[in-house]
Amino acid sequence: MELLFQQLLNGLSLGSVYAIFAIGFGLIFANMGILNVAQGSYATWGVIPTYLLSRAGVPLWIALPAGLAGAALIGLLAEWLAFKPLRDRNAGMLGSIIIAVGIWIILLALGEIVLGPNPSAMPSGAFPSVPLDVLGLKIPPIFLLNWVALAVVAVGLTLFLSRTRFGASIRSVGFKADSAAIVGVDTRVVLSVTAMIAAAIAGLSGILYSFTANNVSFTVGEGLMLKGFAAVVIGGFGNVKGAVVAGVAIGVIEALTQQYLSSTFRDAITFGLMLLFLVVRPQGIFGELKASRA
């Protein structure tokens, strides 16, 4: 029984990371119309500055924001150098997916050049690792950070999008960029900021993942992207609530499969679930928030 609860906790922790990633992935899809397959490599590029700084002995409260800034910068560059020129040509969604694949390839290759082919781990002193003991269950401090981060990102983003003026601009550009421009929204700024927020969220999930799984490698983002995509499909595109529920659920299912079936089945079950949803209910549990977006 204790094992079950421990695995549930592990799953909830990993699932929070997937959920954070899925929120960023859904944000860029819902508001920029880009199915950004490069989002996973943004996560890797959030990990890289944090890892390099931590290894140099810089404390985490500097290294973590540096990682977020790094990811945001990558997102901004991708927006300026690739997505914006393409948008100016009025390209459709498949064009932006192809461009995103190009960015993915470039960032993956650069990531391997920087980090090398072999996986490593965050330096042991970078974040407290002594687990708390609650009723016989072990809770490493990173679990708490994951949960807090998920709550902050989910609630913060929802409030930001629904309550602030800038959030309203983001939603209006996502709904129809031309109309937004007519009523005085600077779409260029809005799109750049959206791209940066989405990339920073991806970076955050990457950093949390590499602490949680104790793994730093240039492929960190690949796994996150698939779990994130699965979460977005299951929860519904552009739907923060759906991303959170589905992301956490995937984490829990993974942890339980690994414990009670086998670790090789882990990915197969996630993907199988995603395929099932694509076939049976492609709009996800909570549906696509298209009609109510603006």
Partner: protein, 308 residues
């Protein structure tokens, strides 16, 4: 470069080109599909089982490889084709990654982590034969009702279905063709590599094939073939520059081509315009040499045409 390595590069170029052709088949009806890699995986492991395991003759095995690719495509099209095109794109990316998981978890067929060594090496004649058959099929299709319908469906699905084109059926057919070509390519790749495992049919292969289609152009079957040859020679030239140079070039070419030359290198529409423009200039007494060209409707970009 000696003759042997030229021949080998050419073999790889043709086979990569055919893999790109498999992706092109789906793209020509407006579907971005990476599932070609999965079809190739099916064909490759079937090739290993049938030639090395049972000793079947190569021609029969190649036919079976094409067939299993087609069957896989039928299954996938039943599962996926009701989705919007961007979901299909993402789902096929997921399928490539699932292929890896499947290969690792089916050691009885694939050798699991250890992979499968391929003992049979096909002569280049089989590759040439496969290429001829593929080119013949695609050239015939281009001039057929199917070719016309697929061009229309890619430009505008609404118009196409108004004119009585059954989009779902059209895309199913294009997917099955993609599957057959993909399965065939898998068998040929297996014989070229001499060893296949979970990492053979990975995202890297999908990236190369997609880059080949985008560079060559997705509007004529010649485009993917040329793209495939280019993306075989390019890594050879870049070898030794620095690590992952070929990957970086793949990515940069994808981005640059999509922005500056979205219809790719082989673009029948541009040829037609060029010919018309040249003719317009050549005719004496024509007061406005630029007239016919200016009257041309604005050139559509690939992405517009592929469909949003």
């Amino acid at each position: 470069m000696n003759a042997v390595s030229i021949l080998s590069t050419l073999e790889f170029g043709v086979v990569f080109g055919m893999l790109a052709l498999s992706m092109y088949s789906a793209l020509s009806t407006g579907l971005l599909s990476m599932a070609s890699i999965m079809f190739a995986g099916c064909g490759a492991f079937l090739f290993a089982q049938l030639t090395d395991g049972l000793g079947w003759p190569p021609v029969l095995v190649l036919l079976c490889a094409a067939a299993i690719g087609g069957v896989a495509a039928i299954v996938l099209s039943a599962l996926l084709l009701h989705l919007e095109s961007h979901y299909i794109a993402m789902a096929t990316i997921a399928i490539v990654l699932m292929t890896r998981v499947a290969v690792l978890n089916l050691p009885a067929v694939t050798g699991g982590v250890n992979g499968t060594p391929i003992l049979t090496e096909l002569s280049p004649l089989y590759i040439a034969g496969a290429l001829l058959v593929a080119v013949w099929v695609f050239a015939r299709l281009r001039r057929s009702r199917y070719g016309l319908a697929s061009e229309l469906a890619r430009e505008d699905t609404t118009v196409a279905s108004t004119l009585g084109v059954n989009i779902r059926w059209l895309r199913t057919v294009s997917f099955i063709i993609s599957g057959c070509v993909g399965g065939l390519v898998g068998a040929l790749l297996a014989s070229l590599y001499g060893y296949i495992d979970a990492d053979t049919f990975s995202m890297d292969l999908a990236f190369t094939a997609l880059a080949a289609v985008v560079l060559g152009g997705a509007f004529h079957w010649l485009g993917p073939l040329i793209g495939g040859v280019v993306f075989t020679i390019l890594p050879e030239l870049l070898r030794g520059w620095f690590e992952r140079a070929d990957q970086l070039v793949d990515g940069v070419i994808l981005v640059v081509i999509m922005i500056f030359l979205p219809r790719g290198l082989v673009d029948p529409l541009r040829w037609k315009q060029l010919v018309r423009r040249l003719r317009g200039r050549g005719e004496p007494g024509d007061g406005m040499p630029a007239g016919p060209a200016a009257a041309e409707p604005a050139q559509r970009t690939a992405t517009e045409a592929i469909g949003s």
